[in-house]
């Protein structure tokens, strides 16, 4: 296990380095260099040169790279282009909101999709396919709904038409009820896609486990189908499900950007969109690096957890 963890950790480091390097170089590839991209048409000539100098773009590439790395490690993420606010600070303010949406989504997803998927698998195993087919069909359709469309439809129905949830408004931590009201709709939108994916994976995994030989052995010892489900099936099915949770986190991150845009939630995604709109490519890239690192780390952690669940790897 230790061997495996060390090996994976090295891979993680290499990947992180790769991510950071890739982003560094893409920034350098903006047609016409970073300075003019940021400045747009507002600066030229000497003023542009000044900006370049200030951004350190005239240094040799290697030293630029090293100072970039250094600034990342120090969490000195520069300043926003327009408002000159420290990006690091903005990120730290926006992060809790995005994270709370993500966590709420994950909790909701796991609570609903695992029982649902298990039930569908159980029925399918006994030959009663209707729930299974219905679930798989619906799940697939939901999965394919463009998240921005789902969000707009939800916004239209539950907020604008029915008035159950507010569509906009300030978000403060002091008023938790208002917070919940604001975040409820976006969390629902995020959850619905996640549930579709997770329920399907759960169903497939449980179904596969139910047709394994050891389930038959358990039945031959006199355990009822339900008992077998809880004693044997779920634990074994958990393993592949755990791997997928890590991967679907990526989709979750994708989704947060879109719902924050639509519901005007001041999370990290919103920061990203603002950066794009104000052509602050430095910040955009930095935020994307941040998302990538978060994703990769979560995957690393879930991978290790998965390994600890499976005793076969512990030697």
């Amino acid at each position: 296990m230790a061997d495996y963890a060390v090996k994976k950790f090295f891979q993680l480091i290499v990947t992180i380095f790769g991510v950071v390097t890739l982003v560094f170089f893409t920034l350098r590839f903006i047609p016409g260099d970073a300075a003019s991209a940021m400045a747009g048409d507002t600066l030229s000539g000497a003023a542009l040169e000044n900006l370049r100098e200030k951004m350190g773009l005239n240094e040799p590439l290697l030293s630029q790279y090293l100072s970039y790395l250094k600034s990342l490690v120090m969490f000195d993420l520069g300043e926003t282009l327009t408002t000159r606010l420290p990006v690091g600070g903005l990120l730290l303010k926006a992060l809790p909101i995005t994270l709370s949406m993500a966590i709420a989504t994950i909790i909701l997803t796991v609570t609903i999709s695992i029982p649902l998927g298990t039930l569908a698998a159980f029925m399918a195993h006994k030959g009663r396919r209707w729930l299974d087919n219905g679930l798989t069909g619906m799940a697939m359709i939901v999965d394919l709904m463009p998240s921005f469309w789902t969000a707009l439809v939800f916004l239209l129905i539950f907020s604008l038409t029915l008035g159950w949830f507010p569509a906009s408004g300030q978000l403060t931590w002091e008023d938790p009820w208002a917070l919940v009201q604001r975040l409820a709709l976006p969390v629902m939108v995020l959850s619905i896609t996640q549930i579709a994916t997770m329920a399907r994976i759960t169903r497939t995994s449980v179904l596969e486990v139910l047709s394994e030989d050891y389930v038959r052995t358990a039945r031959s010892l006199g355990w009822s189908e339900l008992q077998v489900l809880f004693r044997h099936a779920l634990k074994n099915a958990a393993l592949p499900i755990a791997t997928v949770i890590g991967l679907s986190f990526g989709n979750l991150l994708n989704g947060t950007v879109i719902v924050e845009f639509i519901f005007t939630i001041p999370g990290v995604g919103n920061l990203l969109i603002n950066g794009i709109n104000s052509r602050d490519y430095q910040m955009v890239q930095t935020l994307i690096v941040f998302y990538a690192l978060l994703f990769v780390t979560i995957n690393f952690v879930t991978d290790l957890i998965y390994r600890t669940l499976d005793p076969r790897v512990q030697f």
Partner: protein, 658 residues
């Protein structure tokens, strides 16, 4: 329905059981009206091949059929109660408590994420009503009984930490620990090595006799039946075609299928010139309803009545029934004995020369752990092998898992590079692989598959190649129309024939056959063996025949090499080695193989080899067999006996061989 009415004490009575599988492709009638009875304490073997329905029948008794299987008719009366009508809940109290089960594959039949303790103790608590501590003690007691060393420690182990043989013992312990009256064992030893198989069979015999439990033992191995059973039920195409006491069935088989099946097993008194009687054709597809007798297409004695009316089980003697319109089966018609036609021996004027020579061949697999070099493991798969094969001769290589025989094959074919040692092979050796399913590119037609060696080696032009593949396919007994089919359209036996044809495409001097019949049905194996033997005679090809099936190896080989832990421990002419095995391992191996003759089996001492197959990871110094040898001394553990290389006559790697 004619069957012997059982005595009042019958433990299990099956009446006209029918089981169907409702698949998308149609309804398969797996079990088509099976009736028999098992008395208390009786051991009944159910013999059949794939498609015979034996497993489905066993699972039907306990209603453990997987969807889409369903019991479609008949009664199962257990201890006087008809359990076919019982509710699921009541049935659950019977499973495990009154009827225990042992399944085929110990690797997959245990929950990999649960300790043995958790899997064993809870059922004991439930079925015997014991407290947790008492149940645990009981479980440990049983683990000890099945021969698991240090049971108090092992009970906390996970299944992956045990070998196949040990896992199967755990399964047996689990099944027996709840004191059932009947144990259903579905091919419990098929996945195990020969010597381990012998241990397990002995164990089951002893324990069930002790507990007074009856056993229904499903197998395809007639030898095991002779060793183990009181009564035999022979199944074919979902029906029982013959049933009776084991001595009767073997001495006086009445159904053509039973007779043929017994005939296809190479017996000890057979000589190589005799052709192995074989059963033509393949078992029928159970998707389609069968008119008349199911065996008629393969039966040498089939006549008009067989096509119209299905025979029922009729009395042939005390407790002996068979379902055939011919009272004595094939005895009076074209008998099997006259089928033993002589083989044409090739008149070979070629100078005898060596076609294969292996010198001090070694292959070590090293797995490097980058972050902890101390944990690097070396698997010494082949550890100094010296062999020679002459032209036109067949060398049989026998051994169990981990002995290195498959690695030697791969080394000979150039699929692996040796770590040290020399390999000399005349020409380009070819191979027939074990698994017909993965032997061919599923996207290629048979014709292209046969042509490939010729194309790669640039032999001839399109025209001559087309001719050659026509010759090849006929040579292996298949019609040229097969050339335009895809592999998935062929049966296992047909695929192996094509594999042989492909191996012969370039007229090789040496063909290596790695377990060519293990994946085939018993009734089909003889076809392939005869084919190989015929080709050997016709073409003068040298075969290296690798197998764990000792009877077949003995039949087809001229010389035999016995391998253990990567080394050859005995070598010599096949008949001699079998008649007078000198090495203790060879002796144990031969003892372990059950012979399909109950009379002989009763006289055998049956003290199986103890211990597990060691792993080639930790090779002991000294004789590799020291850990299990009944004759072991200190000298054996210290000093490794050397086989003098390439002596033509008998060689034995043992300090004490007589």
């Amino acid at each position: 329905m004619n069957y012997q009415a059982p005595l009042q004490t019958a433990l299990l009575e099956v009446q006209d059981l029918k089981t169907e599988f409702h698949t998308d492709g149609g309804t398969v009638t797996a079990v088509d009206g099976v009736s028999f009875a098992i008395e208390r304490g009786e051991r009944v073997a159910v013999v059949g091949e794939s498609g015979s329905g034996k497993s489905a029948m066993a699972m039907s008794i306990l209603r453990l059929l997987a969807y889409p299987g369903i019991v479609a008719g008949g009664k199962v009366i257990l201890e006087g109660t008809d359990i076919t009508t019982l509710s699921e809940r009541k049935l659950n109290s019977i499973r495990g408590r009154i009827v225990g089960t042992v399944f085929q594959d110990p690797m997959s039949s245990l929950d990999p994420v649960m300790t043995v303790a958790k899997q064993m103790i809870a059922p004991i608590m439930r079925n015997l009503g014991l407290s947790k501590d008492d149940a645990r003690a009981e479980a440990i007691k049983w683990l000890d009984k099945v021969g698991i060393p240090e049971p108090e420690r092992r009970i906390e182990a996970y299944p992956y930490e045990m070998s196949g043989g040990m896992r199967q013992r755990v399964m047996i312990a689990m099944a027996l620990s709840c004191n059932p009256q009947l144990v259903i064992a579905d091919e419990p030893t098929t996945a195990l090595d020969v010597t381990i198989q012998a241990q397990i069979v002995e164990l089951m015999k002893t324990l069930t006799a002790e507990a007074g439990a009856a056993m229904m033992f499903i197998t395809h191995d007639m030898g095991l039946v002779a060793r183990f059973a009181h009564k035999v039920a022979v199944m074919y195409a979902g029906r029982i075609v013959e049933f009776g006491p084991v001595d009767e069935i073997f001495a006086n088989p009445c159904h053509p299928y039973t007779q043929s099946l017994l005939g296809t097993i190479p017996s000890a008194d057979m000589v190589k010139e005799d052709r192995l009687p074989q059963i033509e054709g393949t078992p029928p597809d159970m998707k389609f309803p069968i008119k008349g007798c199911a065996y008629k297409d393969r039966c040498a004695g089939a006549h008009d009545r067989c096509a119209v009316e299905a025979p029922v089980l009729d009395s042939r003697g005390p407790h002996h029934t068979a379902a055939c319109w011919l009272p004595k089966g094939l005895e009076n018609t074209k008998s099997l004995k006259t089928e033993k036609t002589q083989r044409k021996l090739r008149n070979d004027n070629t100078e005898p020369h060596v076609v294969v020579e292996l010198n001090e061949l070694r292959k070590h697999f090293v797995s490097n752990q980058v972050f902890s070099p101390s944990k690097s493991m070396t698997v010494r798969a082949v550890n100094g092998v010296n062999l020679r094969v002459w032209n036109g001769q067949t060398l049989g290589v026998v051994g169990e898992s981990g002995c290195g025989k498959s690695t030697v094959a791969r080394l000979m074919l150039g699929l692996e590079k040796p770590t040290s040692g020399d390999i000399f092979i005349a020409g380009l050796p070819q191979m027939v692989f074990q698994d017909p399913a993965s032997s061919f590119n599923p996207k290629m037609k048979i014709g292209a598959i046969l042509e490939e060696p010729l194309v790669v080696k640039n032999v001839g032009d399109k025209h001559s190649r087309t001719e050659k593949i026509q010759t090849l396919i006929r040579q292996v007994g298949l019609d040229p129309s097969y050339l335009s089919r895809y592999p998935h359209q062929l049966s296992g036996g047909q695929k192996q024939r094509v594999a042989v044809a492909r191996a012969l495409a370039l007229n090789p001097a040496v063909v290596v056959a790695d377990e060519p019949t293990s994946a085939l049905d018993v009734s089909v194996r003889a076809q392939i063996i005869n084919l190989l033997a015929d080709l050997k005679d016709e073409l003068g090809v040298s075969f290296v025949f690798i197998s764990h099936d000792l009877l077949t190896v003995r039949y087809i080989s001229d010389q035999i090499a016995v391998m253990y832990l990567g080394e050859v421990v005995e070598y010599g002419p096949a008949d001699e080695v079998f008649a007078h095995p000198a090495h203790p391992y060879t002796r144990a191996l031969i003892d372990a193989v059950p012979v399909p003759n109950p009379a002989i089996e009763k006289t055998r001492t049956n003290a199986p080899l103890s211990g597990e197959l060691p792993s080639p990871l930790n090779l002991p110094t000294g004789c590799p067999f020291a850990s299990r040898c009944p004759m072991v001394t200190d000298r054996c553990r210290a000093e490794k006996p050397i086989l003098p290389p390439h002596k033509t006559s008998r060689q034995v790697a043992c300090h004490y061989a007589q």
